[in-house]
Amino acid sequence: MEQLLLLLSWGDKGWGDELAAGAAITISLALATLPFGLAFGLVIALMHRANSKILRGIATIYTTIFRGLPELLTLYLVYFGLQIGIQKTWAAFGLPGRLDMPAFVAGMIALGLVLAAFSSEVWVGALNSISRGQREGAFALGLSKRQTFRFVILPQLFRVALPGLGNNWMVLLKETSLVSVIALPDLMFWTGRANVVTKEPFLFFGVACLIYLLFSVSSAAGLSALERRFSRGFAAGGRR
């Protein structure tokens, strides 16, 4: 038992600090991806409901592709494919040296693209749930389309979308475990490396399980707090 604790200790003898560094990368990657993925997802959702056939077409193609591709493939496409594209463009302009996309950014873009595709469906559902009468009412009051969205639709949107988006967040948190293939040392990367050296798979995979669970339990708590806040105008009649 003491030996196992030593393996998890901080410093040069134990893997505690490495695992913590990995967990920090996991959570910061997920947090950095979230706003960009959700905002992009909302844009795709608005395109889905646009009048223009072309915009609707683009949105459909986008969600079809990025919901269909395995996340690992998307990651490869962004990290390797996009990198080659950037280098070719860089060289075509005759610029000296080279432009490098850091693995963290590549991971953010790839996971963000996938998150956008999945969350756009949640946004569409939320947008559909807001009754037509509200838009007509806003129109009657003389609000422009932009104002209607900003002041009438958006504030209500979060309340409806939150449970679905919470799901998307949980999935994103787990998908970050794929990023070690692009040389980003996340929690799974360090867990695997520690296991290879110490031959204690149950200890390290067990600890990784606990850390992932800790992340998801605390985000579940955060999410229900958010849900309460966004629903505060709706609590009435014995339902709190």
Binding site: Y79, G94, A183, V196
Partner: protein
């Protein structure tokens, strides 16, 4: 217009001369490795890379008077990352196979180790012919020469491929596999440690040059011929002057430049 042209010409000249200088003198090399293949290369509890390849290549770098930095990259994607210039050299226990030579160039071989089958203790026959292993579950790490070897000769066996060697070993231990094939050195670690109670060596295989290639070498991009020749020369010298043996003896009990 004329001025614009002149600016362009100057920029082009500068870029050209920079490229020329780079070709003449290599002063810095970025090396990619897996960091999950002890005792060749692995990450330790300090969060640092260690192993034969780390010590050996660092010794070569010191001799060549170049600055070497390391990157740990998962095995899948280790060649694409080289091709997209995330680093310049792969030193990760990689066998110089013909299949890989289509995409990268290899230096002189610096390691050639036996390849073996291991199995559960209940296996008594040393026979590892494809006929004897028909219908058995055999595991190996995917995208390796061992996987290719199984796919060529053991078509009638049940082949299971894993992302890392560790997972194949674990599945042999818990009984999902009957045999595991890999580099003898890597397996020795398992058989004398974690797999002491469950597993044992069965036999070494006969190398198939078409699959196994000449041995382990460093990989570089095809266009980097100067770098390749520089590394090859350093490897040859290190084998002659005993540097290779000195480093190898620190990490291995048997010769890693056999046959």
């Amino acid at each position: 217009m004329k001025r614009l042209f002149r600016t362009f010409a100057t920029v082009a000249l500068l870029a050209g001369s920079a490229a020329l200088a780079h070709a003449q003198q290599i002063t810095e090399i970025k090396i990619g490795t897996e960091g999950a293949y002890p005792p060749f290369n692995n990450l330790n509890a300090k969060g640092e890379l260690e192993g034969f390849e780390i010590d050996y290549v660092n010794a070569l770098c010191a001799k060549m008077k170049v600055k070497c930095t390391w990157v740990a990259q998962d095995w899948d994607g280790i060649i694409p990352a080289l091709l997209t210039k995330k680093y310049d050299v792969i030193a990760a226990g990689m066998n110089a196979t013909d299949e890989r030579k289509k995409r990268v160039d290899f230096t002189t071989v610096y390691s050639r180790t036996p390849i073996s089958f291991i199995a559960g203790k209940s296996v008594t026959s040393p026979d590892i012919s494809p006929a004897a292993l028909k219908g058995k579950n055999i595991g190996a790490q995917g995208s390796t020469i061992h996987a290719n070897y199984l796919e060529k000769y053991y078509k009638d066996s049940n082949i299971k491929l894993y992302p890392t060697q560790e997972e194949a070993n674990l599945d042999l231990k818990n009984g999902r596999l009957d045999y595991v094939i890999a580099d003898k050195l890597a397996l020795n670690d398992f058989v004398s440690g974690q797999g002491k109670d469950c597993c044992k060596f069965v036999a070494d295989i006969k190398r198939d040059p078409a699959i196994h290639g000449p041995g382990v070498a460093m990989a570089v991009r095809k266009e980097d011929t100067a770098l390749r020749d520089m590394l090859s020369k350093a490897i040859e010298e290190s084998i002659k002057d005993g540097t290779h043996k000195k480093v190898a003896d620190k990490w291995f009990t048997i010769s890693i430049l056999a046959d």
